[in-house]
Symmetry: C2
Subunit: 630 residues, 2 copies
């Protein structure tokens, strides 16, 4: 029996476009002799829609497109994801009852799963961590079973479909249903207990995360091997977002043989129909999947994400402020690979603090990329602003007394940053018919080492989920593997990272950022990305135990090198923790959308409140003890 894996692009919130893609795919699968075509989870509405689920007219529209797909199933079985609505029941928020559902249609009618109370399969396990909000909108099979006074085991059942002269028992799963390790029930197991199964189908809407595909092959592989039944995993491609956090969906739809080995995998980020003959799966050669190549995989996600996002917001031209430093250079090289050169405009905006070293590197980068380039100095405007602020009298209307402002050197640094972005770049972008980028990396974003309405602004932060070491790795990858020549000048890779906003940040004298990236990258990562988030208490305990570097995953010897005494170490720790949970939260609230690649991106994935830094009692105790001893 020939089965089509429909790895389509799902456009979130646009059921009309998705239904149209699906109808075309069904036609093609039919003409290629497929008996079954499988679409991803929520293939009609899309998955990350915010509170659009609260629009009843949108729900009716999805139902209506669902009926179109069902009608198109003459002569073929179609399995697809959609929101299923029970207009007579309510969710716990008082709104209409919604299920995240897998529909099976054949010859114009729905095929009723054997023991489900509805003619569709309901998602049992609801992810409610990271960027996922399933429980906010959808009623799970577990809740439904409880309401009906029964158990999921009594409801979970295969769909039985007559295809190619045979009855097939298909075990249908929705995404998280296949990842049951942390739940009290496992739909995988419950399906097997229902009797004979011919194969599993898992329809997913699973965003790309570094390392997730390897993990899925492991988790699904083990389950499948235990069951001895093949599994077809279908995931969508495309770009979906929760506002602040943008996710690429890489597809990578996979067929697993009865030993749990992948025998077919659709290419990442490619819209395609892949066919498999079910009776052949055990004769197919298992794929030898390459070891994870982190930077290649990140580059693929960023390249896809940037080009897709530009397409989605109808932006054809881009402006990038380049400083001669690494972040803006990598950003420029990424965009240059997506846009034609006349649509990319790089802008260098020197003040008196910018070295000829970095000015030359900027010009070199633009030349290497063959794009548009301009230099717009900011010194005159900055001087004028400072002069206006200091000269203009302020009147206290209560007693008519006058006073004047004094602009500090720190404030002058921020005035430069805002002049560049809000005055020059925003103005150029509007006149060039473009948007301008934010080039902040994840280390800067973690501690707010940026100026609001200055370098923290832009229409997208493409690098804000990459640590500084990943930005460097990406620079080398772009030169070696994408452009295959030195596009990002070696000088940009070699100089110290520096904001060049004052005399103290002189790249020619090796004076730059206060961040010691080889250590701070990993320290910050432990605050954000560890499944059990680290706090100063954990860090200080590891420091005392002498295993901090191995816990963080950074190079050995750095801690002693950077922080000769416990006091130095603690001052550094508290400085960044205070910023991370203080001012940086305020900055992230107003930051542009972030393209997610890691297992924990800022925004809707890592949710945070502006509550200020906190130190536990135990931290204060061990800190005091340590300082007393030393």
């Amino acid at each position: 029996m020939k089965i089509a894996l429909a790895q389509i692009e799902v456009i979130p919130g646009h059921p009309d476009k998705n239904a149209s893609t699906m109808l075309k795919s069904i036609k093609e699968a039919k003409s290629n002799g497929a008996s079954l075509i499988i679409f991803p989870e929520m293939s009609i509405p899309g998955y990350l829609l915010g509170d659009t689920w609260e629009q009843e007219s949108f729900l009716r529209d999805c139902e209506s497109f669902g009926r179109q797909i069902i009608s198109a199933s003459d002569g073929i079985c179609v399995m697809f994801g959609n929101v299923a609505i029970d207009w007579k029941r309510r969710n716990n928020d008082g709104r209409v009852r919604k299920y995240n559902a897998l529909f099976t249609a054949k010859d114009g009618s729905l095929v009723h799963p054997d023991s489900m109370p509805y003619p569709f399969i309901i998602k049992t396990l609801m992810p409610n961590y990271r960027e996922f909000d399933d429980t906010r909108h959808f009623y799970s099979l577990q809740k439904l079973a409880r309401d009906l006074g029964t158990t999921p085991a009594q409801l979970i059942s295969p769909v039985t479909v007559y295809m190619d002269g045979t009855m097939w028992n298909i075990g249908g799963l929705l995404c998280e249903d296949g990842w049951s390790d942390d739940y009290s029930i496992a739909p995988f197991d419950l399906l097997q207990h229902t009797g004979h199964l011919d194969f599993f189908v898992n329809i997913s809407a699973s965003p790309y995360t570094l390392g997730k595909n390897n993990k899925r092959n492991r988790v699904f592989g083990e389950e499948v091997k235990k069951a001895g039944i093949p599994l077809i995993y279908v995931n969508n491609i495309g770009l979906q977002n929760n506002g602040k956090t943008i996710y690429t969906f890489d597809g990578s739809s996979t067929v697993y043989n009865t030993s749990g080995q992948p025998v077919l995998m659709a290419p990442a980020y490619k819209s395609c129909l892949k066919y498999i003959n079910l009776s052949n799966v055990n004769e197919m050669k298992p794929l030898s999947l390459p070891e994870n190549d982190d930077i290649a995989s990140i580059h693929h996600a960023l390249h896809y994400g940037i080009s897709h996002f530009l397409h989605d917001i109808h932006m054809e031209r881009v402006v990038i402020g380049i400083s001669g430093g690494i972040d803006s250079a990598v950003s420029a090289a990424l965009y240059a690979d997506v846009l034609s050169p006349e649509n990319l405009l790089l802008v260098n905006m020197p003040s008196r603090f910018n070295s000829s070293t970095t000015k030359d590197l900027s010009a070199q980068l633009a030349k290497n990329l063959g794009c548009k380039y301009t230099v717009m100095p900011i010194q005159e405007s900055v001087d004028m602003t400072v002069e206006q602020l200091e000269r203009t009298p302020i009147t206290f209307t209560k007693d008519k007394s006058e006073s004047h402002l004094n602009v500090s050197s720190f404030t002058k640094e921020n005035i430069q940053a805002r002049d560049r972005s809000s005055r020059i770049l925003a103005g150029i972008a509007a006149s060039f018919g473009a948007g301008f980028t934010c080039n902040a990396n994840k280390a800067e974003t973690t501690v707010g080492y940026s100026t609001l309405y200055g370098d923290q602004s832009g229409f997208l932060c493409a690098l804000a989920d990459l640590w500084k070491y990943q930005v460097y790795a990406l620079a080398r990858y772009l030169n070696e593997h994408v452009y295959k020549r030195e596009v990002i000048p070696q000088g940009t890779i070699d100089i110290v990272p520096s904001a060049e906003l004052s005399d103290k940040q002189d790249v020619d004298r090796g004076m730059g950022d206060p961040l010691k990236y080889p250590y701070h990258d990993y320290l910050f990562k432990s605050f954000v990305e560890r499944w059990h988030k680290a706090t100063p208490e954990d860090i200080l305990e590891w420091y005392i135990e002498g295993n901090l570097e191995s816990q963080l995953g950074c190079q050995g010897g750095l801690v002693k090198k950077y922080f000769p005494t416990p006091k130095d170490f603690i001052e550094d720790l508290e400085r960044w923790w205070n910023l991370y949970s203080g001012m940086a939260v305020a900055k992230r609230i107003q930051a542009p959308p972030i393209l997610a690649v890691s297992r924990r991106a800022y925004g809707f994935d890592h949710r945070e409140s502006q509550n200020g830094p906190y130190y536990t009692q135990k931290y204060l105790e061990i800190k005091e003890k340590l300082l007393r001893q030393s």
Copy 2:
């Protein structure tokens, strides 16, 4: 028996401070002869903490402070809210098991609820709508019962405490447990079925929302009346946030007699211990609570929210850009009531498009408030920016050809807005040791009628949850009831709302914003605040049915007046829907935090994706039919 309602301020994420407040309150209650003191839900950790719940060291710290409170219960019974951790079990995200719990302590030990599997009461109903994310972090009693192969009815049980020579059966509830209308079980009812109950206790962390207290009195009143058992509701005060959306907690802790009538209510936003003698509740005179005074209630919330937020972020001085228009004037009057006059600096920033009318109104406002005032014109800087953008050559490095930008009049409008905020206000604020405000209202915020890094910027949007009609009502309220004199000049209330960014926006000729607030306020409200969100399909159906104005709640006759033909109506509808679901989403992602007062505020309450506008099939059909007919 004397009971103390401890309406304390809970500081989110600072268990040390909360525990200290609680210990003081316990001491005071003891010295006043109370036998029982009741604290709010999550009184130790706070409630809105984002993903801080993923820090295990924070959880241990909360447990430790919980033990301090238990130890302090000698001679008094203490009921309090805290996170309860079962370190041996896991949540469905694989992290440690957490419950939102109500602890009862007496004489240094916990009192075990009769049938609970733990020595505390577990929250049964988990709100997972609006700003609430309970299910993300906490395991509900329903889930626990399922895992144990039992039902909530078997576990829900009173705590029995010996006080004042008698055994008391107390029915303990946590917040949502008392709001069970949309759930399949009602903890209120289940508690009654356990046998004799003496009284209910509901501990809450319930943010202020316009009209919620009246609704609670109705909902709780009915339940209590049915049960014939008094109820003590204890809510905290303070300010908590989810990053983008900031909530005031008004307390308003209430005692209901056996007929469900409120007999005691603690004052809103006041930290206090209120005492009640339980045997007296039916002899106390029921309170005659005032009808809702919307604007007074909103003003109270804003006043508390602004002063508290300034305190939380250690900001003592504020800068406000004032235009002579209503929004910035109301903002100034609100802040002036919170700050001493020397710490408030108003700034008028005229360009050549600003009328002497509005310039005079600005000066008048500053004089009326007796604060600091300055005028910093922007024309010179704007001209310089335009000149620099147009003069500087752009080189296409590929072929060395040169070109120049042309700055459109629309771009010039935005350059003005950014010059004011990012150049002047941000610079002044930094030099004045202050933050500057964003004065956008909810109508502007809905459709992005604002400039990013311009008037859309600031440290807080205090008015962004108020429709324009509410801003006007607040202006009158401030003059009449707060200042009791004309602080906001009548001229500011009378002129047309206008951005004054071009010749076309001339207030002296009555030319202003494209928004027709008396209609658009209500149209936009239907997009955002209706429990079932309206879309163009609903709007157009109501328009055709002739009941649009009553559906929206706006004045009759406006639609015909503003839109003579169906074509005009549809053009307007689509114009704003496109902005609301398009560019405005992008702007809200980068907007400052919003102070929430309505039943649906932007940010974490109304979650949204940047997916672009969508029109349902049915909308397109009825639109076509309507246009064909007319």
